[in-house]
Amino acid sequence: MTPKEGVLALLETIEAAGVGYVIVGAIASGAWGMPRSTKDADFVVACAGPELDALLRKLPPSFSIDPQARMELFTGTLRWILHLEGTPFEIEVFLLGTDPHHVEIFARKRRERIEMIDREAWVPTAEDLVIQKLRWARRKDLDDAQNILAVQGGAIDYAYIETWCARHGTLDRLAEVRAGIPPGL
């Protein structure tokens, strides 16, 4: 099973079950910025842990699932890690928790075409992805944030981003990323 097939299989299983979700991370960033190489896909789902367990059991046998849920450090949400047999590709599935920005991401989610899987899926808005990327703040996250801001240009609602960055203490990172965009863009 290729990474694309794996992501599609999970997506179709989630949608068939009627569970709310958004795809986040690098795959979603490609919808608003520029695609880049990634070794994982990240989903956030709005359901309870047992419901997610039951849903994941419907996946093909080429998926293997880490037996224990793990805690994601930034927001304290639980995540499941799925491995695709024969590839280093992983899919991380986070439960939607009470983190205020995660809740906001869900409320504002958009249906967009995702290039990696060549179909539409739910993703955060460009602004919400930038806010999330600034929170994680690995080098690749900051690059993604910069690409989204550069490509979206004047369509970006900076006031909205700044409000959340002030709450998260990431205004300095936002300034750093904006400074990295070459003049004239």
């Binding site: 290729t2 990474p3 694309k4 690098a26 490609g30 910025g33 520029m34 695609p35 880049r36 190489s37 990634t38 070794k39 590709f89 075409r113 290039e115 990696m116 690409n147 550069a150 490509v151 240009g153 070459p182 004239g184 863009l185």
Partner: protein, 69 residues
């Protein structure tokens, strides 16, 4: 400062401007490829290097690289 920074910035600007003009259904990877071809149209060696870099970048996201080199 990286001596190649002005070149990197120029290419980045080219990619961003083309990405903004992307038509519905047009693949972003095709947009980036077009940017490189236009950017390095007078420099075959630079164009070849850009193709190699992008192919390596796409490896993880789009499966095995296509035989484009």
């Amino acid at each position: 400062m990286n001596p190649y920074q002005p070149l990197i910035d120029q290419l980045y600007r080219e990619k961003v401007l083309r990405a903004r003009q992307r038509t519905p259904g047009e693949r972003m990877s095709d947009v980036l490829e077009l940017s490189e071809m236009h950017f390095a149209k007078n420099d075959p060696e630079l164009r070849r290097r850009l193709v190699i870099v992008r192919t390596m970048e796409e490896r993880g996201c789009y499966g095995p690289p296509q035989p484009r080199l």
